[in-house]
């Protein structure tokens, strides 16, 4: 009988004793229905005097009133300038070159302003050594519109005027006469500032200047200073490298200030059958490791040995696979000769010196024009920290640094409060500023003047792009006042200094216009002001940790900085908080990364729950009496066994909006300001952490979502072998899906006018995420918050998918899939393929709307809200959309984003779009979408429209390379290219003809206008 048939809903039902089944039987709804939420509690209900009839009356009346009121248009006021500035035309953007230098990120940028307010950061093409305009730099414009900034100078927590503040400081400085005061600053790399600081310390002899980098590069600086005499960092041009061997250095991330991805990517695109070979020995899975050809997970202590082995020592004692890799790398390096480069991030002066010696004769490292963007000296900083704690230092002036938050000494905060004098120059009321006696409100870099020497001989100008939003005064201005040069403005001082020392005969205005000027002028730097005694390096303090590590037992902790927050300067920036980590794809969090083996051993787990959210265990991280409690655990494929990773910059509480108080503070573990800590133990804690991870599935299961091949095959085999167009069977004959015969639709003629295409080179994409933030800024993409991201309701128009291989390589994934046969094998082996390997290969793939010429979304929209333009863009008319979400369901790429809520002017989403200040960053050329409509990448149609209009107005054809999207303009590595394929000389036209070109999910036959370039891995050996 058919009705006897029993349908099993889940495997659990087979188990009679299962508690889950029992509970489900009793409970129809798994989650309790929140009746109280919408009914209110009984008490309130009864206390109310409103009867049902009254209620209906009110509802009726208010509905009628609302609809009547809606018929009247509001009166909108429009207020023009009284005296319009010459350069401002309402509706036309102005661009200004300036420089970001917040002590962690240094970059030459171009600021787009509209009606006098900065709305977007772009790359300054004039700057050839401009540092990297990474995701944080792109997001920095929003940090200026932070409503939590310090808005006035404060004494004892009360707002005062600047003149009172000056008096108070002068008085305090006189009182402090004879007592030791330390001026603890970030790295300014600003010659004029260091001159000013010298004038200040000359006037107050009891003041000592110490530079503190929250994330230290001190050992590398020490090694460089020992060898070359200047306190600076060697610069590398990876485009010249044939073999790159990195030992723990995430040089695509923030290693030594970052900014290397452009050069690196240049060497990674196969040209004339050649590309660079990249070996990476590291503990955490970093961006550099993810991009490497060969990645070997090794703990930091082993890394030291690897480094020694690479530079001539023995590899004995290393695990076999590591030793094998080391010997291969070594051979390859030797073969490359001067075109091989070896780098490391080990916090060890000797290790750094080894590397400098190794690279000395090569072509990749540049020591004549070193980078000046980090100057901190760990020993000096330690003296300050200990001096404050012991009480020998009586006063502390901090500028742009937050020692109360970031000093790894548990007694420092208390000792800081007991100082005779504490003065903090701060932009936000951070942990130091809230307890400081005096707080000097400083402006954002977009409101300041300044000069920055990014590299020796490259001087950048910082110029304000907006009048200061608050009652702030920059540090340099204060120093001028306090050194008795009160009449001089810093602008004049700077101009005079630059003209006198740097510019020579070249024009100041031109320098300000370009934002950067090359000069051979020698200027004194901050480094020269630090105590030269510290040059007598005693290496024992700085590398003691590593040498004695192995005996220590426990795990090795590698502290790193994440793409989103970096050192934590911009923790209050919702764009950065919501930017998924390129590797883990988790946003709004930091966490301990643990290898699968270690996690299993300790009983730590990660699992996905029904709504797709990732859950994880908590641990207490303990080290030398320091405990960081309740740190979530993320099992990270590729993490070296015996090592753990934890990101700095999180866990800030002061001056941070509640939603942005995410993660845990890892700085207490940053003992001796060393990125590597040993003897760390993890203790499982109770509770389950809910991650907001945007990627549920981590492997490709052997599919060709990302096409990959090896350099050898690429060079030798036919394109059909490694980049075949999928075929379908028609009349029992295989025809390519691109053939018109395989198409349901009649194609349109797209040869006339512009036809936009976007090319993404998977070889050049490092996954850095700059494009994601640029897209946010350009297109007013809302921030939805951690809870919504967890529900997969993130609004990123552009995501960077990250895939792990489930075998050692993607190639073996493919093989495994091909070999699956039969039911049993497919069940078990496909299951296995869902799990990432312990040391997987990694591939990144930016995915945005593919602007299909045969778009599945367009055909299912019942109201024709999404339609195709002749120029290849898939248009989305928000005002027409009724929110059926059919389009999103029918999109094979899952790039459509639905506005589940109103994200602007809604207290439930209290991010920048919910306050007047934050809304100033919105791009006036793009609509802010409302609730209930679908949105997606528009291929920056506002930018293509503008380019076309500019050409029309000038009466000329569009220039080659003039078309840009926000992502293509932001891409440092040139991975994203945009243009008109009908323009035959354009770059995109060539890229479309490139044999590496393929379309995502080509078999679906959507004919996208976005195409990818097959990833080629260099498997060649020496």
């Amino acid at each position: 009988m058919s009705n006897n048939k029993k349908y099993w809903k889940s495997v659990e039902e087979l188990d009679e004793n299962s508690s889950i089944v029992e509970t489900l039987k009793q409970n129809e709804f798994v989650a309790p229905i929140p009746t109280d939420d919408f009914l209110g509690d009984k008490e309130t209900l009864e206390a109310s005097s409103t009867t049902r009839r009254d209620f209906l009356k009110y509802v009726g009346f208010s509905t009628a009133a609302a609809s009547l009121a809606a018929c009247e248009g509001p009166v909108i006021k429009s207020i023009p300038y009284v005296v319009a500035p010459d350069e401002i035309v309402p509706g036309v953007a102005n661009y200004y070159a300036t420089t970001m230098a917040d002590g962690f990120d240094f970059a030459n940028v171009l600021v787009k302003t509209r009606e006098g307010r900065p709305i977007k950061i772009e790359r300054n093409d004039l700057a050839k050594h401009g540092g990297s305009v990474n995701a944080r730099v792109h997001a920095s414009v929003l940090s200026m519109y932070d409503k939590n900034r310090v808005q006035n100078p404060m004494i004892g927590g009360a707002d005062v005027t600047w003149s009172d503040f000056d008096k108070a400081v002068a008085q305090k400085m006189n009182e402090m006469n004879g007592k030791e005061v330390v001026l603890l600053t970030q790295t300014f790399a600003s010659p004029s500032t260091s001159k000013l600081i010298k004038e200040f310390t000359a006037r107050y002899a009891n003041v000592r200047h110490v530079i503190y980098d929250a994330v230290s590069s001190s050992e590398a600086l020490d090694a460089f200073q020992n060898k070359f005499g200047t306190r600076a960092l060697a610069d590398y041009d990876f485009s010249k490298a044939e073999v790159i061997v990195s030992v723990g250095a995430d040089f695509i991330g923030d290693w030594q200030g970052g900014g290397y991805e452009a050069g690196y990517a240049k060497g990674r695109i196969p040209k004339n059958g050649k590309m660079s070979k990249h070996y990476q020995f590291e503990a955490n899975m970093s961006l550099a490791g993810a991009n490497a050809d060969v990645r070997v997970p090794v703990t930091p202590t082993q890394q030291l040995q690897v480094l020694k082995a690479l530079t001539g020592g023995s590899a004995s004692g290393l695990p076999e696979n590591v030793a094998a890799a080391v010997s291969k790398a070594k051979a390859h390096l030797q073969k490359a000769g001067g075109k091989g480069v070896l780098i490391t991030n080990l916090p060890d002066v000797q290790a750094q010196a080894m590397v400098l010696n190794y690279n000395a004769g090569g072509q990749v490292m540049d020591t004549t024009k070193p980078k000046m963007t980090a100057m901190g000296n760990t020993q000096e900083v330690m003296k300050v920290m200990n001096g404050v704690v012991s009480g020998s230092i009586k006063g502390l002036i901090t500028v742009g640094v937050d020692p109360v938050y970031s000093f790894p000494h548990k007694d420092f905060a208390e000792a800081y409060k007991n100082l005779d004098m504490s003065l903090a120059f701060a932009m936000k009321p951070d942990a130091t500023a809230v307890v400081a006696q005096m707080v000097a409100a400083t402006p954002h870099y977009l409101e300041s003047w300044g000069d920055v020497q990014l590299k020796k001989g490259t001087f950048s100008i910082m110029q304000p792009t907006i009048k200061p939003l608050f009652n702030t005064r920059q540090f340099q201005e204060c120093l001028l006042k306090w050194t008795g040069q009160g009449e001089t403005k810093y602008y004049d001082y700077l101009k005079e200094f630059m003209q006198g020392s740097v510019l020579g005969t070249s024009s100041w205005n031109q320098a300000v216009h370009d934002g950067v000027v090359e000069s051979t002028a020698e200027v004194t730097t901050d480094a020269d002001t630090t105590n030269s005694n510290s040059l007598q390096l005693d290496s024992s303090t700085s590398n003691g940790a590593l040498s004695s590590a192995a005996q220590n037992g426990g795990m090795e902790l590698v502290l790193y900085t994440k793409t989103g927050l970096g050192s934590g300067n911009q923790a209050n920036n919702p764009w950065l908080q919501e930017l998924p980590d390129p590797i883990s794809r988790a946003s709004w969090d930091n966490y301990v990364t643990v290898s699968k083996a270690d996690a299993d051993a300790m009983g730590l787990e990660n699992y996905n729950v029904a709504n797709g959210g990732l859950n994880g265990s908590y641990v207490h991280v303990k080290m030398n009496g320091v405990t960081v409690e309740n740190v979530p655990v993320l099992i990270q494929p590729g993490q070296a066994k015996g090592s753990i990773g934890l990101a700095l910059g999180y866990g800030q509480k002061e001056g941070i909006q509640e939603e942005m108080q995410t993660g845990v503070n890892a700085y207490p573990l940053y003992s001796n300001f060393s990125a590597v800590q040993t003897g760390v133990t993890l203790e499982k804690a109770s509770g389950v952490h809910e991650f907001a991870c945007v990627q549920l599935h981590n492997t490709m299961m052997g599919r060709d979502i990302i096409k990959e091949t090896t350099l050898e095959i690429f060079n030798t085999k036919d394109v059909h072998y490694w980049n075949a167009v999928p075929e379908v069977s028609k009349d029992h004959q295989e025809i390519p899906v691109t053939s018109p015969d395989a198409d349901l639709w009649e194609g349109f003629d797209r040869s006339i006018g512009h036809h936009f295409n976007l090319s993404i080179d998977l070889n050049a994409c490092t996954g850095c995420g700059a494009c994601v933030i640029a897209c946010h800024a350009e297109n007013n993409v809302p921030v939805v918050g951690k809870d919504e991201v967890r529900k997969s309701r993130d609004m990123h128009w552009l995501r960077i998918d990250r895939y792990y291989s489930s075998e050692e390589t993607f190639e073996s994934d493919l093989e495994k899939k091909e070999n699956i046969s039969g039911l049993g094998s497919s069940l078990s082996e496909y299951g296995e393929m869902e799990n990432a390997s312990a040391n997987p290969q990694v591939a990144f793939q930016p995915v945005m709307c593919q602007h299909c010429n045969h778009a599945p979304c367009e055909t299912v929209c019942p109201v024709a809200a999404t339609s195709h333009g002749r120029q290849g863009q898939n248009h989305m008319a928000y005002n027409r959309c009724v929110g059926t979400r059919y389009c999103a369901n029918n999109c094979p790429y899952k790039v459509r984003r639905f506005n589940w809520f109103l994200y602007a002017e809604n207290d439930e989403f209290d991010y920048h779009m919910n306050n007047d200040l934050g809304r100033m960053v919105l791009n006036p050329d793009v609509v802010v979408r409302s609730r209930g409509v679908m949105e997606k990448c528009s291929m920056c149609i506002q930018m293509t429209q503008k380019t076309i209009l500019d050409a029309k107005r000038d009466g000329r054809p569009v220039k080659n390379g003039e078309f840009k999207t926000a992502c293509s303009a932001a891409c440092e590595t040139g991975a994203i290219a945009f243009g008109d394929i009908n323009a035959e000389k354009s770059e995109i036209h060539e890229l479309k003809e490139n044999k590496r070109m393929y379309h995502l999910l080509e078999a679906v036959g959507t004919k996208p206008n976005v195409f990818y370039q097959t990833k080629v891995r260099n498997t060649n050996e020496a």
Partner: protein, 445 residues
């Protein structure tokens, strides 16, 4: 009956005559008033012409050369010039007017003093003026100010109001006539009935019919048809009503400063894009900032008498006060001819409110397409108060895009695409729609 009618006729005729008479008499009176005023105005001018010059020639010269910076009775960029010839030596004046800078450079104390008193603004040299010309000008500047005709306003007011009164009288008279006619008809009818009764005429009783509404209700077909008709027409009007919600055609709000486009764009022929310059290169046409107003109004603090009178009469606006509002907003001290720095922005009421989701670019239409502003904004040069001329609905946009040819002449951008597309569509001239001007994403993103 006829008899009755005829008896009333003379009185009606007389009434009509009276009305006509009244109307014309007041108008004639008004005309007499205004001619008298003209005479009064003209009268004092001739005797005041004394000295050596020709006042009329002087006036012409003054207006073409001096009036931009000088006024007779008020300080402008330069000092007031009334009776200037009596303040300074005539020979010195010749020198000054022909080249004041030379005079200053020569160290003439008086010249330097004047130069410094007037914010060191350099007076243009007029080497082309002969001494006679200067005499003429000086003759004009010495002319006594015509006493402001106090009766103008009153008389003008009276004239206009009398015009209004006469119209009312005519209407009243007509109404009276009609009333009389109706009364007469009733009277006649009554009289006839009485006569008929007296003559013993008996009317036939009319057959009692069912009342109309009952017939209507009983005829179901008619009810159905009416119902359908009513529903349809209700639907039609509802649709019409809803379609005009948010379409503010004819919206002409009261602005903080009564700015007359009629005077600026109409009478003075100022190009729209002189003030709305950003329409050429930006997506917005821009409300001009006040410094643009001051380009001209630094020198124009008062309107001409005719314009003033017109403003008073037709629009009830004191234009001079409106200019003062501008001065206040921009912080211009007219007495000392300098900016005070105290500004208060003007909060104009925005008239053309395109929703946020619609992208419209002025420069595309103005610069590239070369469309006249009037095409969308209507006869602005005739508008005393600016109003929304076009509906600004999507249908209106689309229609124009369908009908308008793309202006490709001399534009290199269009060269290739126009050639190819016109071949494809088989037309000589492409419309904006054929160029892709109807695609959703062109205006909505």
């Amino acid at each position: 009956m006829q008899k009755v009618k005829f008896t009333n006729l003379p009185s009606i005729v007389s009434l009509l005559l009276l009305a006509v008479l009244l109307t014309f008499s007041t108008q004639m009176l008004a005309q007499a008033d205004s001619t008298a005023v003209v005479a009064e105005q003209a009268a004092p001018e001739t005797p005041a012409a004394e000295g050596v010059g020709d006042v009329e020639a002087g006036e012409a010269l003054f207006k073409s050369n001096c009036a931009a910076c000088h006024k007779l009775y008020k300080k402008s960029t330069g000092p007031a010039l009334f009776q200037v010839s009596q303040k300074y030596d005539r020979e010195w004046l010749y020198k000054w007017i022909k080249n004041s800078q030379e005079l200053i450079a020569s160290g003439d104390a008086q010249a330097i003093k004047i130069f410094e008193e007037n914010n060191k603004s350099v007076m243009t040299a007029f080497p082309g003026l002969s001494n006679t010309d200067i005499d003429n000008i000086l003759a004009y500047t010495d002319t006594e100010k015509a006493t402001p005709p106090p009766s103008t306003e009153v008389a003008g007011g009276a004239a206009s109001s009398s015009g209004g009164v006469s119209n009312n009288i005519i209407l009243g008279a007509l109404a009276l006539v009609f009333l009389l006619l109706i009364i007469m008809l009733v009277l006649v009818n009554n009289t006839l009935k009485k006569i008929a009764a007296a003559n013993g005429v008996v009317y036939e009783e009319k057959q009692k019919r069912a009342p109309l509404w009952k017939v209507f209700v009983e005829n179901q077909f008619l009810v159905l048809v009416t119902a359908i008709f009513l529903l349809l027409s209700a639907g039609y009007f509802m649709y019409g009503y809803f379609m005009q919600v948010g379409v503010d055609q004819g919206y002409a709000p009261v602005q903080p400063i009564h700015y007359s486009h009629r005077i600026h764009a109409g009478d003075n022929q100022i190009d729209c894009k002189y003030c709305h310059s950003s329409a050429r290169k930006s997506k917005t046409s821009g409300i001009p900032s006040l410094n643009v107003c001051m380009n001209c109004h630094k020198n124009i603090s008062e309107v001409s008498d005719d314009t003033y009178a017109m403003g008073q009469e037709e629009y009830g606006v004191d234009y001079n006060k409106e200019i003062q509002k501008l001065y206040k907003a921009v912080g211009w001290d007219a007495a000392n001819q300098q900016y005070t720095g105290e500004t208060e922005p003007v909060k104009w009421v925005r008239i053309h409110n395109l929703p946020d989701f619609a992208y419209f670019n002025h420069s595309q239409h103005v610069t590239v397409a070369g469309i006249e502003c009037q095409k969308c904004h209507g006869p602005v040069e005739e508008m005393e108060i600016m109003e929304q001329f076009s509906p600004l609905t999507m249908g209106w946009c689309i229609n124009c895009h369908r009908e308008t040819n793309v202006n490709v002449a001399g534009n290199e951008y269009y060269k290739e695409i126009h050639e190819q597309l016109s071949k494809k569509y088989g037309v000589d001239q492409l419309t904006a729609a054929q160029m892709g001007g109807l695609e959703c994403g062109k205006c909505h993103y």
